[in-house]
């Protein structure tokens, strides 16, 4: 892996694709790229206009880059190290012009490194063959037929729901900021496929640079509009460049995808504290356009990605428990990079219907207002209102960083609520929750880590477990009727016995090295409390509402609900 070229892999420019008028906006991305990079650099220069701030930015960038590069032994790193050391030596003696010139050079290089590429040829190729390849991985015996036949079974495995027609419609009027939950590296692939299948525009998105180490994935990432976010770069100016970049891209009307949780949820829980990060630039992009007299609405579209199995579950929960939420940002050696895990992952869904349900939520404007079918913002009383009023004072729209930061924080709360409402409960999560609640009941007052040592201690007779599953499912259905959560079709329709059997088979197949639960003389044993915790965490916010009426169940549910809120 280390020998791979770090330069973007691109197709030769022999036959460039000429975008047609009906193509999505992103098909023009490449022709605007240089322009976007220049605009980003211009904004950075504006921001660091004062001599002291330019010098501070250079010092800070040099310091952090030197720290990072000193740990890197490659040839390229040594060259860059010399460059930054040179800057650090000279910056004190530079003239104002010199500082600005160096800053411009540094920002330009960073912005170019961030900037993405969209090759319509790769897009057409991927959309034709990727589903086939994924489906083939699920059913290797029919490989040829699947690669040639396209979509096929993937349609059934990845379900999508929610107000998709509305989203398609409003994406023609304004810029869509798609903000899904994040639990697996498969998220972007599954989402990309669903966007294509539903006739939604492909999106610009920022992917961690660590993803670019896999040559196949890197090829697609580089050519499908992704921009690269290098989490190892700690320089303050780099963060400003990322922000400016995503803002400019949104202002120009490119639909964008952000994972506001930042990294994959380590605990398996739904993200509840959202800072929004780059997605927050949607507010600024709207304000900037309005201040320039451009009427281009911005729509935030929440989405939850719900897996029956999470490809990287084992690594993620270990990481969560080890670091207690202080996530290692970059995990390079997880299940995602091991192809045999992919095959077994896709093979294990027999009988559970959908592997993955992607649920889109109701879109809202940057100020948390719902929008109607035409994309008009609605006040709480259903009246149409002009979103520009939120960025105006005395009738004049303006850009104000502190104001927009306040809107962004408020939006984080709106989004966290939407995530909870739009969660789709998968069968594995339901079974894990009921088993884990039993574990908590049996170990009152213990802390989480002591509890997790109870491997294989808790046994629930099959009949008892199915009865409890049935009751918990019914309470979930009541919550669903009240608009507080959703359940997957499998959970909704199947008798509890089938749910349990399907989940047991699925777990037994995928998490084969370490059993999640074990069946022994008519009882189900909680074999791996860590994985049970991971899958049940998705139900944590609903624990109290779906617990039984007896006191012990209620106490256990309160303990679960009160568990560490860190995602």
């Amino acid at each position: 892996m280390k020998l791979l070229p770090t330069r973007p892999l691109r197709l030769p420019r022999l036959r460039t694709y000429v975008p047609r008028p009906e193509d999505p906006k992103i098909f023009w991305f490449n022709s605007e790229r240089a322009d976007i990079v220049d605009e980003v650099v211009r904004r950075i220069m504006e921001r660091y206009d004062a001599e002291e701030s330019a010098e501070l930015a250079l010092n800070d960038a040099a310091y952090h880059e030197i720290l990072r590069l000193e740990a890197d032994k490659s040839e390229g790193a040594r060259r860059k190290l010399d460059y930054w050391r040179g800057i650090l030596r000279r910056v004190g003696r530079m003239s104002v012009e010199g500082k600005h010139e160096t800053l411009r050079e540094v920002s330009h290089a960073m912005a170019k490194d961030v900037a993405g590429n969209f090759d319509p040829r790769v897009y057409h190729f991927a959309s034709r063959f990727l589903p086939g390849m994924l489906t083939a991985a699920m059913n290797p015996s029919n490989i040829l037929q699947h690669v040639v036949g396209g979509g096929g079974r993937l349609d059934g495995l990845v379900a999508s729901e929610g107000p998709i027609d509305k989203i398609r419609h409003i994406s023609r009027r304004g810029t869509v900021v798609l903000v899904p939950t994040h639990s697996s590296n498969l998220d972007s692939i599954a989402l990309g496929w669903v966007l294509f299948r539903e006739g939604l525009s492909p999106m610009v998105y920022g992917a961690g640079k660590n993803l670019f180490t896999n040559p196949i994935i890197s090829f697609f990432m580089h050519n499908l509009g992704a921009y690269r976010v290098d989490r190892r770069v700690k320089a303050a100016i780099y963060k400003e460049i990322l922000k400016a970049y995503s803002c400019v891209v949104l202002e120009r009307g490119y639909h964008s995808l952000f994972f506001p949780g930042g990294t994959r949820s380590r605990s398996g829980a739904i993200e509840s504290h959202l800072k929004l990060g780059l997605a927050g630039t949607g507010v600024e992009a709207f304000a900037r356009n309005r201040a320039r007299g451009i009427d281009r609405p911005v729509y935030f579209v929440p989405a939850t990605i719900n897996y029956a199995l999470v490809l990287e579950a084992e690594t993620l929960i270990e990481d969560y428990l080890k670091e207690e939420g202080r996530a290692r940002y970059i995990i390079e050696d997880d299940e995602f990079s091991r192809i045999e895990r992919w095959v077994s992952f896709f093979n294990k869904f027999r009988g559970l219907e959908s592997v993955c349900v992607i649920r889109f939520g109701e879109p809202f404007d940057p100020f948390g207002n719902h929008v109607d079918e035409q994309g008009n913002s609605l006040a709480p009383d259903g009246r149409m209102i002009d979103p520009a009023t939120y960025v105006s004072r005395r009738g004049t729209p303006s850009v104000d960083a502190r104001r927009d930061a306040a809107y962004t924080r408020a939006l984080g709360k709106v989004l966290a609520e939407a995530y909870q409402r739009e969660t789709v409960v998968m069968p594995t999560q339901l079974v894990a929750h009921v088993m884990f609640r039993r574990l908590v009941r049996a170990t009152p007052g213990l802390d989480l880590f002591a509890r997790l040592r109870h491997r294989g201690d808790i046994a629930v007779p099959y009949e008892e477990l199915t009865a409890e599953l049935g009751q918990t499912r019914d309470r979930l259905l009541q919550l669903e009727a009240a608009g507080k959560v959703h359940v997957s079709n499998f959970v909704r329709r199947q008798p509890p016995g089938n749910i349990l059997d399907g989940v047991l088979a699925t777990w037994a197949g995928y998490h084969s090295a370490r059993q999640v639960v074990r069946v022994q003389s008519g009882s189900i044993l909680a074999e791996d409390p860590n994985l049970l915790l991971f899958y049940q965490n998705r139900l944590r916010p609903f624990a109290i509402a779906i617990a039984g009426d007896d006191e012990a169940d209620q106490i256990a549910a309160r303990e679960i609900a009160g568990m560490e809120q860190r995602a």
């Binding site: 100020f367 709480p380 009383d381 979103p387 009023t389 809107y407 924080r409 408020a410």
Partner: protein, 313 residues
């Protein structure tokens, strides 16, 4: 010409805010449910129609908590995202202790909301006696607008972005004020009052932190500042209300004596319920709730509070 300042609520606090804004040279529109004539010598326009307030930019919302939700819905029809909406309530809603600014932010189209609190008393505000106040808002322009509208040489207006801290502090200091009034009437000495006030503030801080507020807000004007003014005897309605209760008046008569709406009985019970849910101790609120419902007499309450094991502060 700059837009007028609007005030929703014709109670004593609403009218005082209107006068304070007039004093700084603002045009003021005062809305109240009943038609009323402006106070003599004031250039306040009065109205009973909420849509008349739409031309304002800053809107003060001075409404007792039982009417907040209903009136917010009504007011919401006339406002949009450009309005700055600031309330002065000492109330909280439900057992989750939803703050009034949260309710305003979800039931009206306004997002730029804030809470005005601190040692503000209607009479002093109206007469222009020197004092201070704190405005909590996540939006700098809200802080600025309030400061422009009522701040000046006689009123120092400080700002913070810890809105929820300001609102919880204001509500719970109101409760402590009620308890102080009660204790004063029973003839308790300075030492007892000091314990009551400090432990009350500690309780307020605990509740505030669970709700996401910052402890330092409670040490500032919204908490300690407000409480010191109550102890010093600024004639606030909460203290008068407590005194009246201690004299044996019933709730209605006590409210009449206080001369303003006091968030008392319901609020204490809400905080007690919140404490149970959140797993934190709120002995004072629990005590006040029991006192108001007649479950405990004042003597029994004082005894119960004093008998609690003294812990590390």
């Amino acid at each position: 010409m700059s837009p007028p300042v609007a005030v929703v609520g014709g109670g004593s606090f609403g009218r005082s805010l209107a006068r304070a804004a007039c004093r700084t040279g603002q045009r003021v529109i005062l809305w109240s449910r009943q038609e009323r004539r402006p106070d003599a010598g004031e250039s306040v326009t009065t109205t009973t129609r909420l849509p008349d307030l739409a031309e304002a930019e800053l809107v003060f919302f001075a409404v007792p908590s039982p009417h907040v939700a209903g009136l917010a819905d009504e007011l919401g029809h006339s406002l949009d995202g450009s309005h700055l909406l600031v309330h002065v309530s000492r109330g909280l809603l439900g057992a989750e202790l939803a703050t009034v600014s949260e309710v305003l932010g979800s039931r009206t189209p306004c997002r730029r909301v804030g809470a005005l609190a601190g040692p503000l008393v209607a009479k002093n505000l109206a007469d222009g006696h020197p004092g201070g106040a704190i405005i909590g808002s996540a939006f700098p322009e809200v802080i600025e607008a309030v400061s422009d509208a009522i701040g000046g040489t006689s009123l120092r207006v400080y700002g913070t972005d810890d809105v929820v801290g300001v609102e919880i502090a204001s509500a719970l200091v109101g409760l402590v004020g009620l308890a102080l009034g009660y204790a004063l009437r029973l003839g308790m000495g300075p030492g007892t009052l000091a314990v009551l006030a400090t432990r009350g503030l500690a309780e307020a801080t605990r509740v505030g932190e669970v709700r996401g507020g910052l402890a330092r807000t409670f040490a500032g004007l919204a908490g300690a500042g407000d409480l010191i003014a109550a102890v010093a005897g600024d004639g606030r309605p909460e203290v008068e209300f407590g005194r009246a209760l201690a004299e044996g008046l019933d709730l209605r008569a006590a409210a009449e004596r206080a001369g303003a709406y006091v968030e008392g009985a319901a609020l204490a019970a809400q905080v007690a319920a919140f404490g149970r849910l959140a797993g934190i101790e709120v002995p004072l609120s629990v005590g006040i709730a029991k006192l108001m419902s007649g479950e405990l007499s004042a003597e029994q309450l004082a005894e119960a509070l004093m008998a609690r094991p003294a812990k590390r502060e």
